[in-house]
């Protein structure tokens, strides 16, 4: 029971952070969905894994808010790939999110008696 609750908490926590992480990765270069998931896993040393379904939901929301735009590229003969591109409004939103994240993480570190690095 405790394990189930812990994994649910982890999932909720991840979902909250995934938006920030996806935007950050997209600020470096245009990426497609699978690539974003792979980079999240790689760069976190396997600590941050996400189901594609959850990621796409976040990406759809960001597209609707016009922070991201999409374009498709032909891969091979038949397949296409949808790339996500971070727009200027998305960059502003990302910098706001990073500031918020810094503030919250400072606050949490203070509460948990942890030294900030």
């Amino acid at each position: 029971m405790v394990n189930v609750m812990a994994s649910q908490n982890q999932e909720n926590f991840k979902r909250g952070c995934a938006e920030l992480i996806a935007l950050y990765l997209l600020s470096k270069e245009d990426l497609y969905g699978y690539q974003i998931c792979q980079l999240m896993e790689e760069k976190s040393g396997g600590r941050f894994t996400m189901l594609e379904g959850s990621l796409y939901l976040i990406l759809y929301k960001l597209v609707e808010l016009e922070y991201l735009t999409t374009y498709t590229k032909l891969v091979g003969k038949r397949r296409t790939r949808k790339y996500y591109h971070l727009e200027e409004s998305g960059r502003k939103y990302l910098s706001e999110m990073i500031n918020e994240y810094d503030e919250i993480s400072k606050g949490i570190c203070l509460i948990l008696d942890r030294e900030e690095k």
Binding site: Y32, G33, Y34, Q35, C37, L51, E52, G53, S54, Y56, L57, Y60, R79, T80, R81, K82
Partner: protein
């Protein structure tokens, strides 16, 4: 189409069935998942659909990730309401069609009756003789 491609398409079809949303939305979600599944299969040289299930989850699990439980309940309620309305419209249409058929059959029967009835009337007989006079 090889075996793994066929299995992937079946897998995607199952996801589509489990998604509760409009057709365009379903197509968008499935098309994005298709991209990811093929990327995963190609990058890892996979030819067993079980590995796809293991990595992405079952179609039911994937469909669930698109909605929170509350949203899922709301969607189901709306879908139920829409179904009731649909059934009501279909029912009304069937009743209308039956009514039209009955009315047509009835009027056809009346017409038949009308024209098959023997007719009585006066017939005046004229006689024309060889001189051309009518008597």
């Amino acid at each position: 189409m090889n075996n793994i491609e066929r299995d992937i398409e079946l897998y995607l079809d199952k996801i589509k069935v489990n998604l509760i949303c409009k057709k365009e939305e379903k197509n968008r979600i499935v098309s994005d998942i298709r991209e990811s599944v093929y990327d995963f299969v190609e990058n890892n040289n996979i030819n067993d659909i079980k590995k796809v299930y293991g990595h992405f989850g079952t179609p039911e699990e994937i469909a669930k990730t698109y909605y929170s439980e509350k949203e899922l309940e709301e969607i189901k309620k709306t879908a139920k309401k829409e179904n009731y309305i649909r059934y009501a419209i279909i029912g009304a249409f069937i009743i209308f069609v039956i009514a039209v058929i009955c009315t047509a059959a009835n009027s056809n029967r009346l017409l038949k009756e009308k024209y098959s009835r023997p007719r009585y009337g006066l017939v005046q007989v004229y006689n024309i003789d060889t001189n051309g006079t009518i008597s």
